[in-house]
Symmetry: C2
Subunit: 333 residues, 2 copies
DNA sequence: TTTATTTACGAAACCGGTTTCGTAATACAG
DNA sequence: CTGTATTACGAAACCGGTTTCGTAAATAAA
C-alpha cells in the first residue's frame, strides 16, 4: 500500500479509503487508485484489516462429521448465505468427540471468527465450552443438533413430531412390535425422536414401551452385532425406525443376509436425506430433514446476530418440518 | 497482552515469547506467564500473529459442490491432516461455475491462506486464475479434478484405466452396444474415463465408437430428458457407464419408470463412492474412488509444499487406484 | 464580504502480536 | 582474577491496513 501511495503521490490513508470506497475520497482519486491497484495486482491484506477493524469476516462451521448427506446439504445452505454476505467459512469436524469440540471452540475465540454455527457431537453433555464462547459475545447458532436448556439461538426440525408420526405410520401399517433404533442417549435430537415414538406407542397402546428404544453405541462393528442380535433374537421387532442413515443401511444389509423380508416381516422407516431411497431394494420410507434450508436459516440467523450489534439471538427459535415419504419398505402387504 | 505483561511485571516481548515457548525464556517465567494467561482466559489474537509472521496457518479448500459423497469423504481426509498440522480450513464452493472459481481464488491471495487444495469446476477451461496464484508463490495441489497441462502438483485416480476396465467388464458380460455417459467435454477427469472407455471398444472391436460417448449437459431436467431419449430411442444401448453418481440415479429411476430391466436389458456401472450401492435394486456395480485417501494425500502434499520452503511441488504426481466392485447391475444373466 | 460548511486529503496513532537487537547478570574457561 | 559465553529479558521497530483528527481549499449561507 505504501508503494502504491508513493507511486500515486497520495497518502496511504487516501489509498486505504479509496480502496474501501469511502465518501471522503473524490471519484477521480478513487478511480486513479483502483486502476493502479488493478495494474499492480494489489489487494488488501485481509488480516491487517481484520486486526484493525476487529472483525474477521469469517464464521466457523462446527460439524460432528460429513459422512452423512444431511451435513453436505447443510454446508451448501450455509455457504450460499455466507458467500452472499461476503463472509468466509472455516470448517471444523469434531468427529463426534467432546474433547475435539472443546478445542475447536477454543480456537474460535480471540477474534478468529465473528460467529459460530454448530451441531454438537453425540458425546457432548456439558456446555461450558459453548457458554464460554457466548460470554465473549460471539454469536452462536445451533443447527439440527442443539444443546438443550441453553438460551442460544437454534434452527431445528420437528423431531418429536416425526418420531411420533413414524410410530403411528408403522402401527397403521400393521406393526405390533415396533422399535426405535437410537445412536445416543445424550443427543437431544435422538431423544426427542425416541420420545415422540414412545408417546405414539403409549397413545395407541401398542408395542412394548419398556423395550421400544434400542441404543446402538460403540464402533460400527458393535452396531452391527447389536442389530444382528436384535433382528435374529427372540421377541424380534416387526418394525424399525432408524434414527440415522447408517443404521438403516445396516438393517438392510442384515435383512439381505438373513433373509428377513422387508416389508413383509420387517417394516423400516429412517430419518435421512438419502437420495437413493427410491431406488433401494425395497424403496425406503424416509423422514427427510430440510437440510439445505436448516443450514440456510441458521446462517441467516447468525448474520442477523453478527451484523446488528445489540441484537439478541438468545431466544431465536426456528423449526422447519421434515417430511415423511412413504415407500415400499413400510407398506402393508 | 499488555495487561498481562503489566500484571506480571514483565515486558510484552517476554509474554509473547513465553506464550510461544521460546528458548529465550526461563521455565520459571514461562510457567508464570502461562498460568496467568489461563487464569485471565487469554489467548493470542490469531490475526495479529498472522500479520507479523506472514503466515495464516490456514488453507483453502475449493470444491465444485458437496452434493456428491466423494467430496464429503475428501473433506474428511483433508481435515484430518490439517487438524494434525494445526491448520485451519476455509471451505469454498464454486458450484461448477468458472467465474465463481476465479473470484474464490482471488480471495485466496494476499496472504489469506498458506496453500490451496482445489478440484476444478466443470466449466473451467482457462487456468489464468490458477497461474496467478502460483505466481504469488502460494502452494497449490489439485485433487481428483486437475487442470491438465499445468506444472502443478496433483493427486488423482486412474481414470483412463477405470474407463477401460468398465468397458471391458461390460463387454465381457455380453454388452454389444455400451455407452459412456459424460457430464462435460471440458473436464479432464471425465474425458480420461471416456478415452479409456473408447480405447477398450476399439481394442475389443465392440460397440459403435462414434456414438459411444453421450454428454449430458445442462440442468438436471435436461439431463433427465437426454437420458430418457437415449434409453427409449432406437439403437438404444445395452450397457451404460455413468461418469457420476447422479447420472446412474437417473438411469435407475428411468428404468423403474419405463420397465427396462437391469441387468437383463441394460447393464450399469457407475463411477461413485455411493455407500448404498449394495442395497439398491438391483445392487449397483461401482468404480469407487479412494476419496478419503485422495484428500489426505493431497493435503499431505500441500503441507510439504507449505512447510519446506523451496520445496518444488510442481511435478508431484500421485495416482491412487479406484476399485471396480461387481454387483448385480452388470452381471450377465 | 464575512462567516459557516462541506469536501478532500494527510499525519499519526492504533490494532495485537513478533522479532531484532542490545544489555545486564550469571556461568564458564583459562 | 580476567575475558568470553551464555542466559534471560526489555525497548522499540515492524507487519499492513484503518481510523481519528486536523487542515487547507472550495463552496454555500448570511
Amino acid at each position: 500500500m505504501k508503494e502504491l501511495a508513493k507511486e500515486l503521490n497520495v497518502s496511504v490513508a487516501t489509498v486505504s479509503k479509496a480502496m474501501r470506497d469511502s465518501h471522503e475520497i473524490s471519484e477521480q482519486t478513487k478511480k486513479k487508485v483502483l486502476e493502479a491497484a488493478a495494474r499492480l495486482n494489489y489487494t488488501l491484506n485481509p488480516y491487517a484489516s481484520s486486526l484493525r477493524k476487529r472483525q474477521s469476516k469469517t464464521i466457523a462451521l462446527v460439524l460432528p462429521e460429513v459422512a452423512d448427506n444431511f451435513f453436505s446439504l447443510a454446508i451448501n445452505g450455509i455457504q450460499s448465505v455466507a458467500e452472499r454476505k461476503g463472509y468466509h467459512v472455516l470448517i471444523y469436524l469434531s468427529h463426534e468427540k467432546f474433547l475435539n469440540e472443546v478445542s475447536i471452540l477454543s480456537e474460535c475465540s480471540s477474534g478468529r471468527v465473528d460467529g459460530v454455527l454448530i451441531s454438537i457431537s453425540s458425546e457432548t453433555t456439558s456446555a461450558e465450552h459453548i457458554l464460554k464462547l457466548q460470554r465473549e459475545n460471539i454469536p452462536i447458532v445451533f443447527f439440527d443438533r442443539e444443546f438443550e436448556g441453553l438460551r442460544i439461538a437454534r434452527v431445528v426440525t420437528n423431531d418429536f413430531e416425526c418420531g411420533y408420526n413414524a410410530a403411528i405410520h408403522l402401527i397403521n401399517n400393521g406393526c405390533t412390535n415396533p422399535v426405535f433404533l437410537s445412536i445416543s442417549t445424550s443427543l437431544g435430537i435422538c431423544n426427542k425422536r425416541a420420545e415422540g415414538f414412545k408417546a405414539a406407542l403409549l397413545e395407541m397402546k401398542a408395542g412394548d414401551i419398556e423395550n421400544a428404544v434400542v441404543v446402538c453405541k460403540g464402533t460400527s462393528g458393535d452396531e452391527y452385532s447389536q442389530i444382528k442380535k436384535l433382528l435374529t433374537g427372540k421377541n424380534r421387532p416387526d418394525g424399525i425406525v432408524a434414527s440415522v442413515e447408517r443404521l438403516a443401511m445396516t438393517v438392510y444389509l442384515m435383512s439381505h443376509e438373513t433373509g428377513i423380508s422387508i416389508p413383509n416381516q420387517l417394516k423400516v422407516v429412517v430419518f435421512s436425506t438419502l437420495e437413493t431411497a427410491p431406488i433401494l431394494n425395497p424403496p425406503l420410507t424416509t423422514i427427510t430433514q430440510p437440510a439445505f434450508e436448516i443450514g440456510k436459516a441458521a446462517a441467516e440467523l447468525l448474520f442477523k446476530g453478527i451484523e446488528k450489534k445489540g441484537y439478541n439471538l438468545a431466544d431465536e427459535y426456528v423449526e422447519l418440518p421434515s417430511v415423511l415419504t412413504e415407500r415400499m419398505s413400510s407398506r402393508n402387504s
